[in-house]
Subunit: 223 residues, 2 copies
């Protein structure tokens, strides 16, 4: 990390830290105002540099957007997968750990704005949306699908349509993040403690998955 052959002068240190500083500033403003409504001057000012500096590190505003998505959230997914791989408890414990861990690593941090940003701009940047889908959504989905399947295989959960249920499991989590960056700041009356929200979601979910429940869903798509 600090070999003597690489003199850690303050100027060089800045050079290396710049991209992170710029993407961090861009992430904050993109999530707050949206991509189109954010000016590069504002991003530069927030990072304490001038607009020209942005173009030393990124080719265009769109390239900056791509970098924001790429470098912000993919590392967090790695950690989630590592946690799931070495988990040893019950499927319910794993599911609970996934939800709470997501809140600690993504939801409650500066990364919490990424889902809202991606939702808002997916239509304008299909290739970034595709990247996000393949590297974030698919992997997150897979984590939950595996947990559900494990619980069903062990008899801990009743059989459900896993491919559909996974969306229902993830949706409240995503909405929590989106809410905090959209209507939450404006109308905060209903913004409860995120922990309690997640615990309630988990509680309803685990009980909804208990074996022996009678299905309320029509079996076939006859009607």
């Amino acid at each position: 990390m600090s070999s003597p052959s690489v003199p850690e002068s303050s100027r060089r240190r800045r050079k290396e830290a710049r991209p992170q500083e710029l993407t961090a500033a861009a992430l904050a403003l993109f999530t707050e105002k949206g991509f189109a409504a954010t000016r590069l001057d504002d991003i530069a000012a927030r990072a304490g540099v001038s607009k020209g500096t942005l173009y030393l590190y990124f080719d265009s505003k769109e390239a900056l957007f791509e970098a924001v998505i790429r470098e912000s959230i993919v590392p967090a997914m790695d950690e989630g997968e590592a946690m799931a791989a070495q988990h040893r408890g019950s499927a319910a414990d794993l599911l609970r750990a996934l939800l709470l861990r997501w809140w600690e690593v993504i939801g409650s941090t500066s990364l919490g704005g990424v889902p809202k940003l991606m939702m808002s701009e997916a239509g304008n940047f299909p290739q970034v949306a595709r990247y996000y889908h393949d590297n974030v959504i698919s992997r997150g989905r897979r984590l939950v699908v595996d947990a559900l399947n494990r619980g069903i295989a062990s008899g801990e959960f009743r059989p459900v349509d896993v491919e559909v249920a996974v969306e229902v499991v993830i949706a409240p989590v995503l909405m929590l993040a989106i809410w905090r960056y959209s209507l939450g700041p404006c109308c905060s009356e209903e913004l409860h403690d995120p922990r309690r929200y997640l615990e309630t979601h988990f509680d309803l979910l685990i009980n909804g998955l208990r074996p022996g429940a009678k299905s309320h869903a029509p079996i076939a798509a006859g009607a």
Copy 2:
């Protein structure tokens, strides 16, 4: 409606239909591209008029945005409340009817893009967000809260923290709408049949609310 003193010439008919045509075009483009990225020329072209016509009916781009929100979704809320008021079945039936009716009246129609639009732009238009909160979110919340409370009072549901649970009930519904206007069009692999999605949500929910379930949520906020 058709008194002889008001000649229903094609020109006058257009005059009365224009605002709807313009807000419909604006809604489609706002939800697809976002407010800032949508040009007034495009809205006018989609409605088959020139840009100047927009300013015969709306003072500014922002006023058009407000009109889109106001006139699009509030009437749909009226219908939802009417349905709930005259409902006579069980609380579970009411909840199910609310979910499916929402899909028919809002989710599957052109109004389905409103949630995504509002989420994206709430930060830039606090007063519109406040209006949306007071006239759409609060009222929708209230419908679900009442249904939950009715079920708990009758013993049909176990006691839960209704003010938190309502968010968990609504979140998957909102995410369904948001998804269809964000990453859905880009990466459609996971976009299942909305009916099955809602039925699965309802199935998990009703079973999660059954009396006799043991709570997995910590009782107090001690930690």
